[in-house]
Each structure stands twice: as structure tokens, then as C-alpha cells.
């Protein structure tokens, strides 16, 4: 598993003074205007000076140095790395959509607005919420919108003391970070040995300062919170609201709806459940859905339908809105991709997502458990993902989760998520997704079987892995200590 491009110079090193990709030079217009001298740039930026071929070759070769869904099984827990259908990209990039200015008249954008409105409606249906805004640009911004709405709700009721957000210790880092961004205090509560919320701890945390709780269900421990209704009742009785982190929606799509479990607000990661691409780090889309009582607070804009016409809802429509979260209307092109995906899956396809994601995860879990890998929550069903703990491997052979992860790369599989959730020692969080086929799951099992053998017989294969990628293990400490964050010309 080596990359054709084992090394590629930094593009600045390919650069030569005065070289240009000349076909890209736009025609000069007659010069009538000038920038006054004091405002004019004094020194040209040193951008790369390369030919078009050099640029194309460079970035093509760089691309080959990546693992991706399109090239490898990518069982990264909590990330839902499923096939991103090409049609979604193709249709979202139709010129009529791409060329549309965000401030162009609504009358000339009914095609796009229609898609977005229907997307809002479909998301309401699958989450069981009463209203949806597509504005948030990723999961974390959806969380932000959600917590901001919770605060606005309490404030609007004059309930001004509620500034605490409860999060289970297993929660994703964005949950507590979001609470802080919203000016809330974070109260972490533990989970019990089965992965469920510790109800006593919850009771102890609840009180007149409780603004709400952020949960995902199934949790990031990969198991379904069975007492969700009790949790709901406890929180609601204490005057708090329930926030659903939709990163795990893939596990339950069409099977159980956050709204029906009693959640008041939810964000969805359209780039997970609805398969818009991750793009090497983004963009995403973090649409939010709310129960009736939070609807007045939704972030703007969102699409309204009046008669046969669609228009953007603005401040005058939602005077209590928490406001805008972006200059325009969020990641429209991502939302279009999600729309196409949902239309291809259709009503029938929704529940299949959860069913086959769950089937794949439970199959992997069963196979790996049979090999001797230790499930973190034995006796529990896997949801769309599950956790393996390698603490025994570490104890017996000093092999870490990191070693196993890096070695898997050599076998041509992306690594599962490692060291998250933090409370499970030496953990691998494995999420195969529904779009992977049995043969490839079996391939992953074989690789992990082989790795177990290597751990016993030739542990350096693991501890020094990866062996066949463009680089060996990287020195993260040096990266942070001797900061080299940008190219500089050789001295």
C-alpha cells in the first residue's frame, strides 16, 4: 500500500519567478481607475509561480497521498464515512445553482428555494421535530444554535438563572466547547458500566441553574440509551431542555425519532447521515430542528412557503430568532447534496440506512469478539458503531490502540477512531456504515486477525507502523514545539 507519489515538494519549491499559468490571465481592461498610492500594495505576495501543468500535477499527486472513502474502507467511528454519491455533487454543481448569487431575487431562485424547503420538510419528518433551519454550517454550529435557542427560551420566559449545560463525560468535545461558546457552564456527568447515563449523577446535577442537557442517542459509546424517557422526564421536570447531538442519527434513521424520544432541539450532521462529503475536513451542514416551543428562536434565514412561492424568512418573520450565523444562508451547496441524497433514498430508504449500518456494526462486533477483541460494553447491542478496548493488549504486549490503528493503514484500511470517547482506555470506535459490503468487512476482520497475531509474534510491525505509507509515524511533539506553520524561502 504505497502511494505513487511518495514525496511531493511543497508547491513553493516548484515555483520560479515570473512563471505563470498564463491562460488564466484575465484580459486587461482599459485602465481608467487606479488605487491611490498610499493604499497600494508595496510588496507582491510570494504566491506560487507555477505553470498550469505543474499545479495540476502537484495537486493530483497530493490527492494520491490520501486515504478516502473512494479508495479505502474508512471505519472511522462517529464520522459516518459512507459512500458520497457522485450524483449529489453533479446536481449541486449545475450551473443554475452554482451561479446563483445569495442575494439575488427570490423570484429568480424558486428552483433552489424549493429544494431547500422540501429538505426542511423531510428533515422534520425524519427527526420528529416541528421546524428546521438549514443555516448552521457544521455540527458544532448546529450545537451552538441549539444551545443558544435553549438560552433564549429560558430568557424569554424570564428564567434568567439557567446557565448550566449538562453533558455526559462520553460526549463529543464540541458539546462542552459549544456550551462555553454560548456562555454556559459545563457540568459533566459519568456513564454507568453499561454505557448508560448515570441517573443518580444526573439527578444530582439537575437544578434551578440547569439550562439543558446535551445527549446523543445512541451515545458515543455506541449503545442506545435505554432509559431515555426517564432522562427526559428528569430533565424536563427540573425545567431543563434536551439537546440531541445528531452526529449519531445514522444509527436510528427511520427507526426512532429524537422528537419522539422527547428531545427539544437537535442538530443533524448532513455530512454524516445524509452523506454529503467530508472534503478532507469540511464543509458540512448542521441543520437544526426544534420542538414547537423553540420554533420562534430558530436561526435565520430559513425557507418559508407562501402559496406556491418560496422565500427566505428574515428577522421580521422571526423577531425572537437567535439571529444569523453566517453572512448568507449557510452551506447551501451542501444542503443541495443532502436533498438529492434523500430523494434517491426516499421514504423506504431512510430506515434501511439505520438497519444496514447496524447490521454491519453488529456483524463486525461479533466477528471481532470471536477473535478475542474485547468489546467495551459486552452484552450490549452495537448501534451503528461500537467500541473495542485494547487494554489487555496493552497490558500483555505494550501494544496501544494507536499501534493497531497505524498498522491497519498498512493493510489498506483507514483506522477507526482512537482514544475517543476518552473514558474507555485504549479504545477503537469502529463505524463501518451501511454502504460497505460483506467482503470488505471480512477483509477488515482478517487484517485485525493478522494484527493480533503480529502483536504476539512481531510487535515491532505494530509499534513502528505504518511501514508502507508516504511517511512513517510523525513527530507530533516536534510539530508543536518547533512550529513550522508556513513555507518560508530557504535562507
Amino acid at each position: 500500500m504505497k502511494s505513487l507519489a511518495m514525496h511531493e515538494p511543497v508547491i513553493f519549491d516548484l515555483s520560479r519567478e515570473q512563471r505563470t499559468a498564463a491562460a488564466q490571465h484575465v484580459p486587461a481592461l482599459a485602465a481608467g481607475a487606479q488605487i491611490p498610492a498610499p493604499l497600494r500594495r508595496a510588496r507582491r505576495p510570494r504566491l506560487p509561480e507555477v505553470s498550469e501543468l505543474q499545479a495540476v500535477r502537484h495537486f493530483t499527486r497530493l490527492s494520491q497521498m490520501n486515504f478516502s472513502i473512494d479508495t479505502q474502507l474508512y471505519p472511522l467511528g462517529s464520522c459516518t464515512m459512507k459512500y458520497n454519491p457522485r450524483i449529489c455533487n453533479q446536481l449541486a454543481m449545475l450551473p443554475g445553482f452554482l451561479q446563483r448569487h445569495p442575494l439575488a431575487p427570490e423570484s429568480a431562485g424558486q428552483g433552489l428555494l424549493g429544494c431547500l424547503h422540501e429538505l426542511q420538510e423531510m428533515l422534520k419528518a425524519v427527526t420528529g421535530m416541528r421546524a428546521v433551519s438549514l443555516t448552521p454550517m457544521a455540527g458544532a454550529q448546529g450545537e451552538f444554535a441549539g444551545v443558544a435557542m435553549i438560552r433564549a427560551y429560558h430568557r424569554a420566559r424570564g428564567d434568567l438563572a439557567r446557565d448550566e449545560i449538562i453533558v455526559p463525560e462520553a460526549a463529543h468535545g464540541t458539546n462542552p466547547a459549544t456550551a462555553s461558546m454560548c456562555g454556559c457552564k459545563v457540568r459533566e456527568i459519568p456513564c454507568d458500566a453499561n454505557g448508560d447515563v448515570d441517573l443518580d449523577a444526573l439527578r444530582a446535577a439537575l437544578g434551578p441553574r440547569t439550562a439543558g442537557i446535551m445527549l446523543t442517542n445512541p451515545s458515543t459509546l455506541g449503545v442506545f440509551e435505554r432509559r431515555i424517557e426517564q432522562v427526559r422526564d428528569l430533565v424536563h421536570t427540573a425545567g431543563g431542555l434536551l439537546y440531541y447531538d445528531g452526529a449519531n442519527l445514522n444509527a436510528i434513521l427511520g427507526k426512532v425519532r429524537p422528537g419522539d424520544m422527547g428531545f427539544d432541539v437537535i442538530h443533524m450532521n448532513l455530512h454524516k447521515t445524509f452523506s454529503t462529503p467530508h472534503g478532507g475536513g469540511g464543509p458540512g451542514s448542521g441543520a437544526v430542528g426544534v420542538a414547537q416551543r423553540l420554533a420562534p428562536f430558530l436561526p435565520i434565514p430559513l425557507v418559508l412557503k407562501q402559496g406556491d412561492a418560496y422565500r427566505w424568512a428574515e428577522e421580521r418573520d422571526l423577531p425572537q430568532s437567535i439571529g444569523r450565523l453566517s453572512a448568507f444562508m449557510g452551506n447551501t451547496g451542501v444542503n443541495l447534496r443532502a436533498y438529492v441524497y434523500m430523494r434517491v433514498l426516499g421514504r423506504e430508504g431512510m430506515r434501511r440506512v439505520a438497519e444496514f449500518a447496524t447490521l454491519n456494526a453488529n456483524y463486525l462486533l461479533a466477528r471481532l469478539a470471536a477473535l478475542g477483541y474485547e468489546p467495551a460494553y459486552r452484552g450490549r447491542r452495537a448501534s451503528h458503531e461500537f467500541i473495542i478496548t485494547l487494554k489487555r493488549l496493552q497490558r500483555e504486549f505494550q501494544i496501544t490502540a494507536m499501534d493497531v490503528a497505524k498498522r491497519l493503514l498498512d493493510y489498506g484500511y483507514h483506522a477507526p477512531t482512537t482514544y475517543f470517547p476518552l473514558l474507555v482506555p485504549e479504545c477503537l470506535l469502529i463505524e463501518p456504515t451501511e454502504t460497505e459490503c460483506l467482503q470488505d468487512l471480512d477483509g477488515l476482520v482478517s487484517a485485525l486477525e493478522q494484527i493480533l497475531r503480529e502483536a504476539r509474534e512481531e510487535p515491532s510491525l505494530l509499534t513502528e507502523a505504518p511501514h508502507s505509507l508516504p511517511v512513517k509515524r510523525l513527530d507530533d511533539v516536534r510539530a508543536a514545539r518547533q512550529l513550522d506553520l508556513r513555507w518560508k524561502p530557504p535562507a
Partner: protein, 454 residues
Amino acid sequence: MPYIPHTADDIAGMLRAIGAGSIEELFDEIPAHLKTGALEAVPAALSELEVARLMNQRAAADAGALNFIGAGAYEHYIPAPVWAIATRGEFYSAYTPYQAEASQGTLQLIYEYQSMMAELTAMDVSNASLYDGASALAESCLMAVRANRNVDSLRILVPRTVNPTYLHVVRSIAGNQGLCFDTVDYDRRRGVITLDALAAAAPGATALVIQQPNFFGNLEDVGALTDWAHARGMLVIAVVNPTSLALLEAPGRWGTAGADIVCGEGQPLGCPLSGGGPYFGFMTTRQAHVRQMPGRIVGRTVDASGRPGFTLTLQAREQHIRRGKATSNICTNQGLLVTAASVYLSLMGAAGLERVADACLQANHALTQALCDLPGVRLAFDAPRFHESALLLDRPVAPVLARLAQRGVFGGWDLSAQYPELGHALLVCATETKSAEDLARCAAELRGALETAR
């Protein structure tokens, strides 16, 4: 089953391995009464052929107008290689590069992007992107509060020449942490901030935001403003249009010491207008503030055999490590757009970007002249501009724009809601995508609209 590869045999064998009788059984931990029924509100499945037909119709319905709106999103020519590369599966379908060894492509690209943005803004370091320009400004304000060691205040000065929507977003986001924003009025004749107006603001703010070119398209006297703020212990947050930086002085060199934090909308660098997104926010800063910066950062390091390689670094700032104490909650950013921007900037180089910027300057100049030659149209301000101009009409703007839209021309952005004091003000923009004929058509249609509506 679209995108699901399981055959009946597969399913049976897998259930056997699990020891379950049915797929439904795998959901037995979910309380039965909570289970979802049929999702009537979701339409039945369409084949790819059918959804393509539908979307082609809808996209065609929206297509075809000639656009002269800017106001924060700009129509630029995007070279063909940009999206041919950005949509390669290895970039398009990869995750955040947490497994560095398996993500050197994305990591090196981000490192190159950081280098380009640092160069363009003449700052030391860049992050790997934020959501968009407006939210980048919100993050910049939060960062300024953390970074300013001189002043302990949650107040930030925001001139009214800053994009009003940005101010709205900044309030929505940063307001939750108690930041407040004092607006500073602009000079009515020149459409820029003056030191007098700043002097009138309450003292003791943490930072001053300067947008260049400002929302009217006018050029601020950034050097004087920067020095003014620094003299009062404030940090300077620059909001800049990256294309304009080919011609305009880089924020890192504004005044004596340069801006402290630079942010803005990256969309002009290779991102299609796409109805408002996805775009990307960029942010650069001084080395001294790097640990206060939100968002991912890539560093160059060496691998176990001493060869250079790239990895995410300074992760202790981030939510997945620092949780509630992180510099921001951002996780997923706008990576694919950064990919596009990196290809775009590589193809342009400084010389190419200069030509784009100059063509914008000239096109807007020519457009403004042509429009101001019409009776009832004049310039709102007397100031140097980049690629937008605020115009004043002799009558309400909305019906004129509506008429133009019917004729297939998006004639600009109506400023009257955001700046009622200006009267019938219209913000027009022309970039390098507009030919002389396009400009002439705009003028002719506006003439027609003004004549009919008279």
C-alpha cells in the same frame, strides 16, 4: 436498495454470525413504543435518472441572469482545473486528516494554503479555515478578547462601514459570551470612517474592526486607523477581500505595526457563488497570538525516519482535546473550499491575481461611469473604490431592481434597509467576469427601467 450492497445471502449469513434472527432484533434495546412508523412526509425514492431530471429542471429555472450584486459574495472566473481537482475522490471523500500518515495529501495542501494566506495578508500564521467571513469575524472578536493583554474589556468598535450582516452575525455568536459592539458612524460625504468619529466612541475597547474595502466598496485610510487603535492599546481586526489584496496594501503592513488579526470571506478565491455557500472564512494572525487562534492548524515536522511530513498541530487549542476550554467549538471546517482556493491561488500566482483585481477595478469603474451617465443616477460617495460602488437613485430602489430582474439583470443590492439615511442607495459590483457588452447591457437596462418607471 440504493447504496446498500447487501444481498439476501449476505444478510442471512451476517445475522447468523451475530446470532440474531432478524435485522429488527438488532434494535431491541429501543423501547418498542418509541419506534417510528412510515415516514409519509418523505417522498418515495427516485432513481438517479429521475432526480437528475428534477434537479436539471429546477436549476434551469434559476439560471441565466446577468449579475451585478456583490455585497459580500463575488462572481469571479474559476479556472477549469480548480474543481476538477477539488472533486477528485481522494480530496472530496476524505475525512479530517486525523490519521496524518494516511492524509499527507490534505495536510500538505493545508500547509500550502496557510502559507499562501499568510503571504497574501502579510501575517505570520494562518489557520486551516473557519466557516465563512462573518463567523470568522465573530471568532476574531472572541480571539481578540483573549489575546489583548493591554485592555480587559469585552467591548469592540465596529464602524458602520463594516458589512452590517457581519455585525449581525458577530452579535449572534459572540454576544453569548458577553461581548458588545459599539458602532462608529461613517463620513457621509466620503463613505469611510474618520478619526473624528472614532474619537467620539467610548474609550477602553479591546479591538477595532476595519473592513477594507468597506461595505460600500470604498477604501478606508487603514494606516491611520490602525495606528489610532494601537495607540489606545486596542488590537486591530482587519476584514479584507482576498482578491483586493493583490492591489491593496496587506493588513500586515497597515500603519506602523500592521493589523493583529486578519479575517475575511475566502469565497472570491475559487468558490462558486452557489446560492450562499459553501464558502470559507480565513484567519491569519501574528505568531504571538497563534495559541489563541481558533480552528485547525497544520505544521510541518519529521517522521520516525527523519523525513519531512505534515500533521495537525497545536491541537490543545481545540475542542476534541480541551473540550469546554477550547478556543472555539469548531470541528468540521470548510476543507474542500480550501482545496479549491489553494489550486486557485497556485494557478493565479501574484501576477494573475493582480490582473483579476485590476480587471475588477476597471470593470467597476467603467460600470459606475456608465450608470452615473444616466439621468437620476449619481455616486453616493467621493472616495477611491475597489470593485463596488454605492450609487444614489432619484427614486426607490426596489421597484427598479424588480424591473431589471424581470429583464434578466440583477442590478445590485438595495442599501436602503441597512442604510436608510442614505436615501435611495444601491450597491453595484462588476468583476472581471463582465465584458464591455455586459456593462453596456446593464446601463441600457437601467436606463430602460428608469424610463418606464418614471
